[in-house]
Amino acid sequence: MAMTVDSAEQTGSGVSEGDAPAILIEHARKDYGRAAGGRREAVADVSIRVSRGALHGLLGPNGSGKTTTLKMLLGLVRPSSGRFEILGAPSTAPGARARLGFLPEQPYFPTQLTAGEAMRLYGRLAGLTRTQIAEQSAELLDRVGLDGRQKTLLSKFSRGMLQRLGLAAALLGDPEVLVLDEPASGLDPIGQRDVRNLMVELKNAGVTVLLSSHQLSEVEAISDEVTILNRGRVAARGHIDALLNVAGQTSVTARGQGELPPVVRPIVESVAISGATQVFSVPDDRVRTVVDALDDSGWRVVSVVPKRASLEDYFARMLDDDPSSDAPRKAGGR
């Protein structure tokens, strides 16, 4: 059963294209026939709604159905059932994917092409003119840190460079929607930071981003909304704050010498100490008492914010709670 935190309902049909979400996936299902008989269910029932302009994280352990769901959206895999829309149009309709850019997990390119030739190929497939391709290629290669590599054969590119090229290729044609499958894969820490900044820049420019990633910290840092898949189903979805904020608890950071004031000590929990700084949680209704006591004792209150779990903790807890997480979910054999 999915834990749904936000109140957004799937709008379904009857929505004009201008009001439609950037990406709408409803009741996606994919099962594969097997030579040994029976069927293997890769995706059981997944619904995802990505609002326009949002940066939406898609999370899940290996085999949870993330990539298969994205492949169904992008026409790479035929769905067994479900509805897939991009900017209000069925994703398989001619022209629907023209406004979408996609970075596959570990993008592969024809290695006998140069970076410039690859950009020309994908630019033409994106419907760009020769002039547009030349302009955008130079700008995008520069933006992803591949300036001056236009004439380099892709067989000479490292994995990280191919990843950067994949990002540049996905951005050709100024797509309104971007689907990124593990965009930081293969990148060094600087590259990962650059990609994260790029995603935020794109979001600020109004581009919708659907980000599938294993890097929970990355998703937590930049996503507005997340959908968590497990065993081919939606395990949780909602705004990142609503998912991670711990109800009834506030996190307080304070600086001071020695132990916390005696009046504060029995109230606080989960105390973490780093030098003169202490971080602890307090029940919401006792915050005023604690802050006043700290002030009176000469402590400096650095921050008072709603207590928030890390996405990693949330994710691990959610998977631990799922009783079906050991064995693959299977439909009846036929």
């Binding site: 790479l76 570990q106 592969y108 390119f109 092409l113 030739e117 994908y122 497939l125």
Partner: protein, 244 residues
Amino acid sequence: MRKVIAIAGAVVADAVRRKVVWVVAVFAALLAVAVPALPSYGVGVMAPVYREVSIALMWSAALAVGLALAATRIPVEVERRTVFNVISRDVRRWQYVLGSWLGMFAVLGVMVAAFPVATIGIGAFVYGEVMWRLFEGALGVWLEIGVIMSVAVALSCEFGSITSVVGALAFAFIGHAVVGLLKLPPDARPPWYWPTLDVFNVINPVAHGAGFGLVYGLSMIAAFVAWVAIFMIISSLVFGRRDL
């Protein structure tokens, strides 16, 4: 059509970088030089025999290269996932299949054109005769191997490379065995509606006659278009149903 041509262009660029065309061109020149040295020439070197052997070698080399390209291109692209970057865009699967075939057909065309250039040059040197008709033979070979490549592409949309090669070879064999299968006299032509590759067999008019006329050339092209259209439709249907 722009996307089909873009995909075809990438196939050609890939083949050029892999030096497929240049290796085959050198191979063609070596064969052309070797033809007059064959043992059968000891009993009397004749230009028509030279032309016949040249066309046969051209066909064999084109078949080998054509099948190597056509039976491997799509399986390798799927296996290496390079196809994701194409299909995930606003590209229909039929455009991908047709573009891939068209690119390989263009590469084959360059290779088949190189062959008569080499053989005509050697022929002019050895026999003092410029055998322009070998270009007619090259056209027949190009079109026929193009059809066989479309069969290999169709098979490779579902099966692996080896199965596709074997299937395409079987098609080529059966396509030339129709006369025997129908128990027709050796020089007879099967009915026009009967599927056969014999329409592309122009060795006799090119090697021993005055070449084939314009009308026959057009009928060859019509047969080529019909065959390729059939197999491209099959390829698109099969590939369109496939999970990548």
